[in-house]
């Protein structure tokens, strides 16, 4: 069996994502025939097979990111001896895919030499961050004793910390995260040698491969355990959401103010009309269009909340386009109700029902998720009392609506049952002062508490 490794496609590259196997186990492959594809950043690369043979097993599944030099699969060579566990080491002599061998030329020792390092375990995981190397050096840690839990079994800072902790508590029985330690200590390799050496210019001659079989068995041992974690790539939507959230937090100074609103008046009206509303319009009446209607009125009164920042300018938007966050199965999207101030409660509820259902079935048109000037998120529908939402850039505020629930309230020194909800306004403190944020939210509250508009 010949190990196929994750090649190093450049000096700065420490890991790659295996995106696609082009052969299935049991299929034969020619030397230099594309075997799998990897992706690093915006580059997809086909990796050719190092030898002709049959793809024996796949050790790294598609979509997994592993460190360079990780064994991703095995090929039994032409002789077709799958009894290759016992195969003599020389068979594995050139385990590097052809162009990669060339690739590694400036960074001397071939992966083969890494496999053959005395370190018996995941030393093959290869790349270590400078921090980890430094920690290992300073604390005189034998890295072969540390079990990596990072991607591709890389050793992380946390692993070293856990190891150090366990070591300090010296004879303590079986420190949790390291079944490796139970194994008798291997001949002490020079600390961190495997990886540090690779960085140096003059290549030391690759050590003889006499121990090639042992590491393989070690790895098999590890694969036999249930993994402590599962690695899964983010969907593109998730990546975009993550990017946007970080971007927003980095851009705006988020401050959240929470106001309590008595929704009893609206709750009663809603109870009174909801049957007929449903019959007449074909969708049900919720609290959300009331909050939206009050919000558009408050935005008209306080136009700074309906603006954006552009450098040192403030852009006041003419239109009031309300974004509404819709939870999807694995993400969220914020469709926009254009000119929301021109719609009454029925119109708003119609837009909400329509946009939410089309968002979930991915039928939104592109222009329906653009040009929002202010957003509302209704986490109350999931039972949240209040939360601190993140601003949807480049807007400057977002209103979160908590769940409406009946609570005991003191009114005129008597205890009454009222329908109450919390409105949480997150605003960009660069532009909006606390007083303005509160005035705005009070305006929304006042309109809701004194609701007079007919709905039907």
């Amino acid at each position: 069996m010949i190990d196929v490794i994750m090649p190093q496609m450049g000096e700065s590259i420490v890991e790659g994502t295996l995106t696609k196997w082009l052969k299935k186990p049991g299929e034969s492959v020619e030397r230099d025939e594309p075997l799998f594809e990897i992706s690093t950043d915006k580059v997809d690369t086909e990796i050719p097979s190092p030898v002709a043979g049959t793809l024996g097993e796949i050790l790294v599944q598609e979509g997994t990111t592993v460190g360079i030099n990780t064994v991703v699969g095995r090929i039994s060579d032409g002789a077709g001896a799958p009894a290759a566990a016992a195969a003599p080491a020389p068979a594995a002599a050139p385990p590097t895919p052809a162009p990669v061998a060339a690739a590694a030329a400036p960074t001397p020792p071939q992966p083969a030499s890494v496999v053959a390092e005395p370190a018996p375990t995941e030393e093959t995981a290869g790349p270590l961050s400078p921090l980890v190397r430094k920690m290992a050096r300073e604390n005189n840690i034998d890295l072969s004793q540390v079990r990596g839990t990072g991607a591709g079994a890389r050793i992380t800072k946390q692993d070293l910390e856990a190891y150090l902790e366990a070591r300090t508590a010296a004879p303590a029985p079986a420190p949790p995260a390291s079944p490796v330690q139970a194994a008798p200590p291997p001949p002490p390799p020079p600390p961190a040698s495997a990886t540090v050496v690779q960085q140096q210019a003059p290549p030391p001659p690759p050590p003889p491969r006499t121990q090639a079989v042992a590491p393989v068995q070690e790895q098999a041992h590890f694969r036999g355990e249930a993994p402590a974690a599962r690695v899964e790539p983010m969907s593109v939507m998730r990546q975009k959401i993550a990017e946007h959230m970080v971007f927003s937090k980095r851009t705006s100074v988020h401050v959240t103010t929470v106001h309590k609103v008595d929704m009893t008046r609206i709750a009663k009206m809603r109870d009174r009309v909801k049957g007929e509303f449903q019959a007449r319009h074909g969708f049900s009446l919720t609290f959300l269009p009331f909050v939206m209607r009050a919000t558009t009125a408050a935005l008209q009164a306080f136009p700074l909340l309906n603006s954006s920042i552009d450098g040192t300018n403030i852009i006041y938007h003419r239109d009031i386009n309300l974004g509404m966050a819709v939870a999807l199965e694995n993400g969220l999207i914020v469709p926009v109700i254009r000119n929301a101030d021109e719609k009454n409660v029925v119109g708003l509820q119609r837009s909400i029902a329509d946009l939410a259902s089309r968002a979930r079935s991915r039928q939104l048109r592109p222009d329906e998720v653009q040009a929002g000037t202010f957003s509302i998120t209704n986490f109350g529908s999931f039972g949240s009392v209040f939360a601190t939402p993140v601003i949807n850039q480049p807007q400057v505020a977002i209103l979160g609506v908590g769940t409406v629930e009946k609570v005991p309230v003191v009114l005129d020194d008597a205890i009454a049952i009222r329908s109450v909800c919390y409105l949480a306004l997150t605003f960009d403190h660069r532009l909006i002062d606390g007083a303005l944020g509160d005035q705005f939210t009070q305006k929304v509250k006042t309109i809701l508490e004194n609701w007079s508009e007919e709905v039907l």
Partner: protein, 222 residues
């Protein structure tokens, strides 16, 4: 006068004008194979595509906001392709560059290659007074007003294909078909930044910049 001999390797510049995505892709594949066999020098193909949305191998359908039928109605082709990166748009007013370079004769380093492509674009833009740069973790070329050039690359035995797309006078509204959730950062173009340079000037600047960054001598065949 003694003949001036350049030490730089040659790179053939092919300015192909308007070409459908599928045709350009077929041409690239053909040239990649010939480059692997050493029959031709490095190539820099310059094309302009009709409206097309392409999705890389790692692209996810959910990142395509518009349904394929909607794209079709809007006259936008849709292709899945084998470059890195996810989904992108090409269309009129954009300069698409497909360098076919054997990295074994440059640096055997795919990240260095991507950074070099960025440098080519940054240097070319500087010739028009546009300050552009990189953003950590977001391959491509960025200005303060947004992303101006996208990069996606495929490599097979160290020979590159696909490449970059620079917005010169692109109708940026087409990017709405691929903007998920309205969450991505904005895109921009030379024109949107107030630069009046025409396509040929920008192609010439790109070729100069490419020659310098990759240390190639550009040859033009018409």
């Amino acid at each position: 006068m003694p003949e001036v001999v350049s030490a730089a390797a040659l790179c053939e510049l092919r300015n192909l004008g308007r070409m459908r995505y599928a045709d350009a892709f077929a041409l690239q594949q053909q040239l990649v194979e010939r480059r692997k066999r050493g029959e031709i020098s490095d190539q820099l193909l310059i094309v302009e595509h009709p409206h097309v949305v392409t999705m890389g191998r790692n692209g996810h359908d959910e990142n395509l906001l518009a349904q394929p039928e909607l794209l079709e109605r809007a006259g936008v082709e849709f292709h899945r392709t084998d470059r890195g990166g996810d989904v992108t748009y090409h269309g009129p007013g954009q300069i698409v560059g497909y360098p076919i370079v054997d990295l074994r004769e440059w640096k055997r380093d795919v990240m260095a290659y991507v950074r070099a492509l960025e440098q080519v674009l940054i240097d070319a833009l500087a010739q028009f007074g546009i300050a552009a740069g990189r953003e950590a973790g977001a391959t491509g070329v960025w200005t303060e007003q947004g992303k101006i050039a996208a990069i996606g690359v495929h490599i097979s035995r160290w020979v590159t294909s696909h490449g970059f797309a620079l917005n010169v006078a692109t109708d940026l509204s087409y990017f709405r078909y691929i903007v998920p959730c309205g969450l991505t950062k904005p895109v921009t173009s030379l024109q949107a930044l107030g630069c009046r340079a025409d396509r040929d000037q920008v192609v010439a600047a790109l070729a100069r910049s490419f020659a310098r960054v990759f240390d190639r001598e550009m040859e033009t065949y018409d």
